[in-house]
């Protein structure tokens, strides 16, 4: 079991009702972790068009993660 800090931004934060939380997970990939988090909040999270970062570096959905990582889930961005 890995324990990570998960942070939600913008629409994801509104959907989750929290900005961050500690999550214990056996997921192998960031995608699987995201899906667990979505289930946990019964919220309309879709990773399509969303971005993920780990410890302030942009990451790939298929990448793994380690205990104590800070995982950032970004809903579709809309700068400019």
């Amino acid at each position: 079991m890995k324990t990570v800090t998960v942070r939600y931004f913008a629409a994801f934060r509104d959907a989750a009702g929290v900005g961050s939380e500690s999550v214990a997970s056996n997921a192998d990939t960031l995608r699987a972790l995201f899906q667990e988090c979505a289930k946990r909040h019964d919220a309309l999270f879709e990773e399509q068009a969303a971005l993920v970062a780990v410890n302030d570096q942009m990451a790939d959905w298929e990448a793994g993660f380690a205990s104590a990582d800070e995982v950032l889930f970004f809903p579709p961005v809309a700068g400019g």
Partner: protein, 149 residues
């Protein structure tokens, strides 16, 4: 630093000065402003939420990528965060090059990449009192119908 996030009004004069360079004969600016409508709805104001650590590092990376592709001397970009009113400047990109072609191309690349890669979110406040997070840019790739100029 050529990329910055501003929580207050962007100082256009200072921005222009940062691009002064006598080697440059062509300077292109792109200014993005708050528009009074989106998707057929009247917009009253909007908010930008920015995750600064990554917005700044990605913003610098985008400018560095442009520099590898086109020969310009200076480039800079400032993006706002916080609450903006109609007509406010939301983002400005400026590129100064010896000739206009490189400046136009690099400016176009920088604004296009910044819109889809940086962790910046826009929440529109509509005339009818509702508000919602906007996610136009990549939605287009997933078949959603959004009109976005």
């Amino acid at each position: 630093m050529s990329f910055a996030i501003a929580s207050d009004r962007i100082d256009l004069e200072r921005f222009r000065e940062s691009l002064e360079d006598h080697r440059c004969g062509g300077v292109v600016f792109f200014e993005g402003r708050v528009r009074d409508h989106n998707d057929g709805r009247g917009v009253e104001r909007l908010e930008y939420e920015v995750y600064r650590p990554l917005a700044c590092s990605e913003g610098e990376r985008v400018i560095a990528e442009a520099r590898e592709r086109w020969a310009f001397h200076r480039a800079a970009c400032i993006h706002r965060e916080g609450t903006l009113e109609l007509g406010d400047m939301a983002v400005i990109v400026g590129v100064a090059a010896a000739h206009r072609d490189e400046a136009f191309k690099a400016a176009r690349y920088i604004i296009d990449e910044i819109k889809v890669r940086l962790p910046i979110w826009k929440r529109e406040h509509y005339l009818d009192g509702e508000r919602s997070w906007v996610n136009c840019e990549r939605c287009a790739h997933h078949g959603h119908q959004h009109s976005h100029a």
